[in-house]
């Protein structure tokens, strides 16, 4: 007998909200607490639930408060919650939020959990105000941090070079087909062209366009790297009992996984066996599902190499076969292996920490049948991945229609 780990599959995503991504945000600037309240209201309205129904929240950071973020949010929104969590997993955060919400619900701690990540520009601060953002981005240059001492002084900062070094290592071990990684960007752009909100909805690209675009850090071209934008999203997760009084088709969370082992890839044993491997294995085992039963996959795509490794290590093809798999399959919403049907963050946009939510909301829209021109026919099951840092932390989620 297999030991059943984790969820029974009784919690569902019942509401979503998403600010349309914008390259150049022109709307009013709001504080993150204000965006949080706005996104939560929109997601609750989508679900047909009231604020008084909320008894759990999952957040990440907000600019207005370095600490005590959950209580600050609960107070600001007027919520009384039995479960509050702050997740700190970079781009893997949104998927990490959703499974924590589902787990808390199945433990019986709460019935309605709101998860949100605002990502619009905030009002500029007067000079005397503390700055929470470091000029070293996701790297920590604080004394005593290993990165500050052993990585940053060499210029190993931010994400591009880390992913580039993983891609080059892949090329060394398994070979590299630049047209295959470029095809990931091109196929996803086809998907973005079918999404009315995608930042690149009007601009198609070809494999040759990708290969002709500027080299940023070998072998990564600029069209293989996400473009930051404004946006934000929220998701409402609810218990089986609450699902009955919501408005939309429930999207049940039946499997998840999470795995992390390094901050800087230099110090991991094998950069090519990425954390999504064990995370996906757990998710599929928990959901008692085969890879072949998935109708579309929404893979965190900060870079094309992230998608390639996530296809392989999630078990959709063998190790080292990703380049051929991508070349041989149509990754568009019309294709035989639909990937990032909203265009991915490469085509739809990466609204900061909410970037990983774009994969969650797209999975929900596909399973609800709300994906419009890019709808995958009869979509019942979607697999979602989240990735933080430099393949540092990864999360996996399986969702199914109810």
């Amino acid at each position: 007998m297999l030991r059943r780990v984790g969820l029974r599959g009784e919690a569902a995503i019942v509401g979503i909200a998403e600010y349309a991504p914008q390259r150049r945000y022109s709307g009013p600037r709001r504080f993150m607490l204000e965006q949080w309240a706005d996104l939560a209201a929109l997601a609750l309205a989508d679900a047909g639930l009231r604020p008084a129904d909320v008894d759990g929240l999952v957040c990440a950071n907000v600019r207005e408060s370095e600490q005590f973020v959950p209580s600050t949010i609960a107070e600001y929104l007027g919520w009384k919650v039995n479960f509050a969590e702050r997740v700190d997993l970079g781009g893997a955060t949104p998927v990490g939020m959703v499974w924590r919400a589902a787990a808390a619900i199945e433990l019986g701690l709460c019935d309605v959990v709101v998860c949100a990540a605002p990502g619009r520009p905030t009002p500029s601060l007067p000079p005397d105000q503390p700055r929470m953002w470091s000029p070293f981005g996701a790297s920590s240059n604080v004394m005593g941090s290993p990165q500050a001492e052993f990585d940053i002084p060499f210029g190993n900062v931010a994400q591009n070079v880390g992913y580039a070094m993983i891609a080059n290592r892949y090329a060394h071990e398994y070979g590299y087909d630049p047209r295959a990684t470029a095809k990931i960007a091109a196929d996803q752009r086809t998907n973005a062209n079918a999404h009315p909100d995608a930042v690149f909805r009007d601009v198609p690209i070809t494999i040759d366009d990708v290969l002709a675009s500027k080299m940023v850090a070998d072998p990564l071209h600029v069209l293989e790297i996400v473009m930051p934008c404004a946006g934000g999203a929220a998701v409402v997760v609810a218990s089986k009992d609450v699902v009955r009084r919501t408005r939309k088709r429930p999207v049940y969370i039946t499997g998840f996984g999470e795995h992390l082992a390094h901050k800087t890839p230099t110090y991991t044993e094998d950069v090519l066996h990425t954390p999504i491997g064990p995370a996906a294995e757990q998710a599929f085992s928990m959901a008692r599902m085969k890879r072949s039963e998935v109708d579309c996959v929404q893979l965190y795509d900060c870079y094309t190499i992230t998608v390639l490794l996530s296809i392989e290590d999630s078990g959709f093809c063998g190790k080292g076969e990703g380049m051929r798999f991508v070349a041989e399959h149509d990754l568009t919403y019309r294709g035989d292996f639909p990937v990032n049907t909203h265009g991915g963050q490469l085509g739809f946009g990466q609204p900061g920490l909410a970037g990983g939510f774009t994969q969650v909301t797209e999975a929900v829209r596909q399973v609800r049948g709300e994906a419009g021109d890019r709808q995958v026919p009869d979509c019942e099951v979607s697999y979602v991945s989240g990735t933080g840092g430099i393949m540092s932390e990864q999360t996996a989620l399986i969702v199914q229609g109810g």
Binding site: P135, F136, N141, M143, G144, P146, A148, E149, F150, D151, I152, P153, F154, G155, N156, V157, A158, N160, V161, A164, M165, I166, N168, R169, H172, K214, M215, V216, A217, D218, T264, P265, T266, Y267, V271
Partner: protein, 135 residues
């Protein structure tokens, strides 16, 4: 010229012997006295067995390029003068990997598996960085 100051290492008590050796152009690494595991970056306890008996041992510093990239745009404004940055991970012959940059080599000639040796880069601040150059 970049006007942003270069970020420099700020050694702490636990790591000082590593930096001190580099100043005299030697490479020392931690090795666990209990289970013989090599450890980098320096720590207070062994990552394999939690022992606090971590001993400093001198190594050759020879290694191979485990991976690399050529950054065509600066990774941070402070490194604007170093573009193209030849960033690498070098695996030393005792098995640990270090973040570094390669010097004295044309980017087009770098390949994974290339044998490299230390190139000690003495800074005005008394800190020596462990860079590498082809053997």
């Amino acid at each position: 010229m970049s006007t942003v100051p270069l970020p420099r290492p700020r050694p702490i008590e636990a790591t000082e012997p590593f930096w001190s050796a580099l100043r005299s152009h030697r490479v020392v690494l931690q090795r666990c006295g209990a289970c013989a595991t090599w450890i980098h970056y320096p720590r207070r306890r062994c990552t394999a067995c939690t022992s606090e008996d971590l001993r400093w041992e001198e190594v050759s510093g020879h290694g191979v390029v485990s991976t690399f990239t050529v950054a065509r745009q600066p990774t941070h404004p402070a490194f604007a003068d170093e573009v193209p940055q030849l960033l690498a991970v070098v695996e030393l012959d005792v098995g640990v990997r270090v973040t570094t940059t390669l010097t004295g080599v044309d980017p087009a000639d770098v390949h994974i598996g290339m044998a490299v040796v230390p190139s000690f880069d003495d800074g005005d601040d008394g800190v020596t960085l462990l860079r590498f150059t082809p053997a």
